[in-house]
């Protein structure tokens, strides 16, 4: 029972941190379950994928009308993302846990770099940007589809949503407003995770005693995070969490290198 509560608390913290930083909880969840609970990385990736689906479903269930995803854009990009996720899910069963840990560490470092870049970037112009403006036309589809495929591969392989790649690409490359890009990414990560979770399910990498408390914790944490977001000074928190990500990345790298 204590273990279930500890997993619930871990999921809750990962969900809150993920929501505060605009990331899925997986980037915190996989290292936490691997390093603190000593679980095999494939089990933690499978757990993270179920948590990603739960969070995507939860946000879809409570999102206000008109603030939802651009389903049309999501499905077109998902054609490439789902292929990547399928390939990533299959590849995860063939490569060693050590290599998976090293790859995860690299993605953690990239995420920390992205967060650092985001924290230093000043908004352009005097007028605040409309997050959900409707008059846009997505462009640069080849670049968007390529990045979506890569994000799917990373998701299937490592159990993270890949929003840290998709949102900046939709926003900066394809010209989608930031609010819609974020909502669309959230819609997509559920489908992407589903494209690889069945492979983990069939391989026996989904363990209910780990998955259920953790996914419930992440789901609740994501909702709590959305509510406390306006009350938190995000700049200091972001810097602290970049430090935490780097620390976890180093631990995962060492775990991979030392076996």
């Amino acid at each position: 029972m204590l273990l279930a509560l500890a997993l619930l608390a871990t999921g809750l913290v990962a969900g809150i941190l993920g929501a505060l930083l605009g990331l899925g909880g997986g980037i915190f969840l996989v290292p936490a379950l691997t390093l603190i609970f000593g679980l095999p990385i494939r089990t933690t990736v499978g757990t993270s994928l179920v948590a990603v689906i739960a969070t995507s479903a939860g946000v879809a269930a409570v999102a206000p009308a008109g603030r939802g995803a651009d389903v049309s854009l999501a499905l077109r990009l998902e054609v490439a993302t789902a292929v990547g996720a399928l390939a990533g899910g299959l590849a995860a069963g063939m490569i060693s846990p050590q290599l998976l840990s090293i790859l995860f560490a690299l993605v953690v470092f990239l995420t920390a770099g992205y967060m650092f870049f985001k924290s230093r970037k000043k908004p352009a112009g005097d007028k605040p940007e409309k997050l959900f403006r409707q008059d846009y036309t997505p462009h640069h589809w080849p670049a968007g589809l390529s990045v979506a495929g890569l994000a799917g591969m990373i998701s299937g392989l490592l159990g993270v949503g890949g929003g840290f790649i998709k949102v900046p690409t939709m926003y900066a490359v394809m010209g989608v407003p930031l609010g819609i890009a974020t909502a669309t990414s959230n819609f997509m990560v559920g489908i992407t995770a589903a494209a690889s979770v069945f492979i983990y399910y069939g391989r026996g990498d989904i363990h209910p005693l780990v998955v259920i408390p953790t996914a419930l914790g992440v789901f609740a944490g994501a909702i709590v995070g959305v509510y406390i977001l306006p009350k938190v000074r995000i700049s200091w928190l972001r810097l602290a969490l970049i430090g935490l990500l780097v620390l976890m990345g180093v631990q995962m790298l060492l775990k991979g290198l030392n076996g």
Partner: protein, 130 residues
């Protein structure tokens, strides 16, 4: 190429249809995720109450084909596996819903994209032993 539903600030028929799709998806997400959570929590409580010694990571989920032969398996494990499976199937349902609505609206490019994604998800289920 552009998406078909988010073009103008005016409430065009396309935007109304997009909101309609959004509402349907919200309803499906609410019903299926609530049912999945109830099943998972019931199964987890059943396992904890049974007094079995719990150690991580514990047993794996039931295989997809075994879920169809429920009576021969422990009910708590079946409930937990069924809840997880239901949650995993939710994105498939959302894509199916989008396919149906886009096909009804004759938005062929989006219906085709939804169909391709649905086929990819079915291939994934097949690869997972479904």
């Amino acid at each position: 190429m552009r998406t078909s539903v988010r073009r103008n600030a005016e409430p065009t028929p396309a935007m109304v249809q997009a909101l309609d799709l959004e509402q349907h998806m919200r309803r499906v997400s609410q019903v299926v995720s609530a049912a999945a959570v109830v099943l998972m929590v019931a199964g987890l409580l059943g396992t904890v109450m049974s007094g079995a010694a719990l150690a991580l990571p514990g047993g794996s989920v039931m295989a997809l084909h075994d879920l169809l032969r429920l009576p021969i398996h422990p009910r708590a494990l079946a409930a937990m596996s069924g809840g997880i499976l239901m949650l995993a199937l939710l994105p498939v349902l959302r894509v199916l819903l989008a396919l149906g609505i886009y096909a009804r609206q004759r938005v062929l490019i989006d219906a085709l994209a939804a169909l391709v994604v649905l086929i990819e998800l079915l291939i994934s289920m097949r690869a997972g032993g479904g």
